[in-house]
């Protein structure tokens, strides 16, 4: 006899996911599924649209990281036009992409996860939020809010509109960077870097507390994927796909991301609308890989910016060359914030950053285009086919969170195994399932639910569907 525990979001509007945990008759966890029950089919929506609309359409359909979608979509259209984005345009896209990573990571770490870290997973949920953090450790909360705000402001200053900037266009960006804007951003960076460093220092001092927890917190062997540049450094905008195995051995040293379909399979599971990508050469489901901040730091030689590299060295010294526990996504996120800020600073000091030539123009010159970039949550693939006139006939998107689909399931399973006792549902279990999912910062609305509280319902079900126990937050 098997029984199933279901964790279901309470608010349907906000929540898009559900978790079931399968028990066998001895009350042991045998399987776990992270269901994504609501997902917008952009592949369908985009059919018949002029390809130049793709950046805006995909940004709208997947609204959690619009800038990342605009970047990947614009790159795919560059490919269809068979042009390279104007170099300054490409650098400006890099800046806005980094700003998105900084602000998104700040939201994930400070607003959503720091309460767990500060108060512990079992603390009163009423206190376990950013307001609670602001009371307990005002400096940390202030730093987090300031970093996020700067990321958002950079996006707004460049793109004009915080959420859906039409500034990122095929061929580059729509308008050159104004000198005042550059200076304004440059002036704000040092304080944000200092804030990021303070947060890292706090995290490191706190880390020992979590060593035991981290060991069973989505800690398992997978491959890792991320974009790297020519020298193997972290590249969030462009470059080659590098994939390593759990021991850090390269599975692919440097693949042109346009060849993704040769290496990434996309499995479809009946229990989720989210596709389940896997590393083809290893088959399904063995080809499990992870993406996102942790994966990027695992695959890259270094980040390429001095302060972040210093921190990465310490990270590796503490955790190892390849970090396996999902828990360390937090740490990796902080290092990437630092890297992002440093890199924005470097790019804005580039000699041509104020160039007026920011956009290449061309017609549709190819019937197919692929654009790949790193979104805050991991590698993002946009792939379109168009007709002679540039009308989209077919589109395939692999979103960052999708890449982590298998890993999230595995992580939930591990946490459930560790914390589910008998057929009773306990709060600690719910808290940890929530927290382990949050490590991946999935781009589902439920994960950013008000003040970091995921609306979850835990339900224990018998095989015949009857409810044995529920736990609701």
């Amino acid at each position: 006899m098997t029984r199933t525990i279901v964790i279901d979001p309470v608010t349907r509007i906000e929540g898009h996911s559900k978790i079931t945990i399968q028990l066998d008759d001895r009350g042991e966890v045998v399987d776990a599924h992270f269901h994504v029950t609501q997902f917008r089919g952009f592949e369908r929506i985009t059919q018949g649209r002029p390809v130049h609309e793709m950046p805006a359409i995909t940004a709208r359909t997947c609204g959690i990281c619009p800038v990342s979608h605009m970047v990947a979509a614009a790159k795919a259209v560059d490919d269809i036009m068979a042009v390279e984005a104007a170099p300054t345009g490409a650098d400006l896209r890099r800046v806005i992409n980094l700003a998105q990573v900084v602000q998104s990571h700040a939201l994930s770490f400070f607003h959503l996860s720091s309460p767990d870290l500060l108060f512990g997973f079992d603390a009163d949920p009423a206190r376990r939020n950013i307001i609670g953090v602001a009371r307990e450790n005002p400096g940390l909360a202030r730093d987090g809010i300031a970093i996020r705000k700067l990321g958002q402001q950079i996006i707004e200053w460049l793109g004009g509109k915080r959420i859906h900037p039409p500034w990122i266009v095929p061929g580059g960006v729509a308008e050159p960077l104004a000198e005042e804007t550059r200076d304004r951003i440059l002036a704000a960076i040092p304080e944000a870097i200092a804030a990021a460093q303070r947060a890292i220092a706090w995290y490191k001092s706190d880390l020992v507390r979590w060593e035991e927890e981290a060991a069973t917190f989505g800690n398992f062997r997978t491959a890792y994927m991320g974009l790297v540049d020519r020298e193997g450094l972290v590249d969030l905008y462009d470059g080659w796909l590098r994939v390593i195995d759990a021991d850090g051995k390269p599975l692919e040293e440097r693949v042109d991301p346009r060849r993704y379909a040769e290496f990434i399979g996309e499995a479809v599971e009946p229990w989720t609308y989210l596709k389940t990508p896997y590393w083809k050469p290893m088959g399904y489901p063995d080809g499990i890989y992870r993406v996102g901040p942790l994966a990027r730091l695992n695959v890259a030689e270094r980040t390429g910016t001095p302060l972040a590299d210093e921190e990465l060295e310490k990270f590796r010294w503490r955790i190892g060359r390849v970090a396996g526990s999902s828990f360390h996504y937090h740490y990796a996120r902080l290092i990437e914030i630092l890297h992002g800020l440093e890199r924005i600073d470097q790019l804005l000091r580039g000699p041509d950053i104020l160039s007026k030539h920011v956009r290449s123009r061309a017609e549709v010159n190819r019937h197919e285009g692929i654009g790949v970039s790193e979104a805050p949550r991991g590698t993002l693939f946009h792939h379109y086919r168009v007709d002679d006139h540039g009308i989209v006939e077919w589109a395939n998107l692999i979103i960052a969170t999708g890449n982590n689909n298998m890993a999230m399931n595995r992580a939930v399973l591990q946490v459930a195994r560790q914390h589910v006792r008998g057929d009773r549902l306990e709060e600690p279990m719910l808290n940890r399932v929530e927290a382990v999912i949050r490590c991946y910062d999935p781009c589902l609305s439920c994960s950013t639910h008000a003040l970091g509280q995921m609306a979850l319902e835990l339900e224990l079900r018998a095989p015949d569907g009857t409810t044995l126990d529920t736990l609701t937050r």
């Binding site: 002029p50 130049h52 805006a56 359409i57 123009r361 017609e363 009308i391």
Partner: protein
């Protein structure tokens, strides 16, 4: 010497020469009447019915853009009833096709959007029809997305009256009505189109646009008269 008529519009005493329309005289006197199909410089068609006004003594509403002024006319251009009509018309313009402003080239510089804003149309009560409508991107420079066409027929008139090409016309009826190029040929195959871009310039919405324009990156088109007519051709060195 032309005759001058005196009349009242919204209670204001105004004068207009013989042959002038109510719309012209109203605008000369600072009275704004919403319009959509009307465009200074080309003939009027009375297609959109937004400019409907009440004329004392007549049970029917009359389009201001098509109705000549007459001596002693008593015109009401603004009333609760007219506002309700205008809102209803605007709503119908939206629900008849598929308008998704957020991903439209014309976003933020669209006359239909402006109209809705001016009239305070904040939501739709009518059900959306969601017709399946096509995009023709076969022309090398321009494209038409029928999803956003409101059948104002400005393109048809400007192409005929100003450019003299008469590439555009209308086909079918009712909900199936479409503007078309050369008896239904793909625009890119049109033997009459001179690629002057006038139709693109006059289109009040995002239906006609220059290819390659990203969302919300359509041209801003101030249209006092027709001086902007040559812009596209000149920009492109045609």
């Amino acid at each position: 010497m032309s005759t001058v008529h005196t009349l009242r519009i919204d209670g204001k005493d105004v004068a207009g020469s013989d042959g002038a329309t109510i719309l012209e005289v109203a605008r000369e006197n600072g009275i704004d009447i919403p319009t959509m199909c009307h465009l200074d410089g080309i003939s009027d068609r009375g297609a959109c019915r937004l400019c409907m006004v009440e004329i004392a003594g007549s049970p029917k509403l009359a389009p201001a853009c098509m109705t000549r002024v007459a001596e002693g006319m008593e015109v009401t251009a603004h009333s609760e009833r007219l506002l309700e009509y205008r809102r209803a018309i605007t709503e119908m313009l939206f629900v008849e096709r598929n308008h998704v402003c957020a991903v439209c080239v014309a976003n933020n510089h669209c006359e239909l959007q402006d109209l809705a804003e001016d009239l305070g149309v904040t939501h739709f009560d009518l059900p959306r029809i969601n017709p399946k409508v096509e995009v023709d991107a076969s022309h090398p420079l321009f494209a038409i997305d029928h999803n956003r066409c409101i059948l104002c027929l400005r393109c048809v008139r400007v192409c005929d009256e100003i450019e003299g090409a008469h590439t555009w016309d209308i086909m079918h009826r009712g909900l199936d009505t479409r503007v078309q190029t050369d008896m239904g040929l793909a625009w890119g195959d049109s033997p009459t189109c001179t690629s002057c871009g006038k139709c693109v310039q006059v289109c009040p919405t995002g239906a006609l646009f220059e290819k390659g324009r990203a969302v919300a990156r359509g041209t801003r088109r101030p249209r006092p008269f027709l001086p902007w007519m040559r812009v596209v051709a000149e920009e492109r060195g045609l």
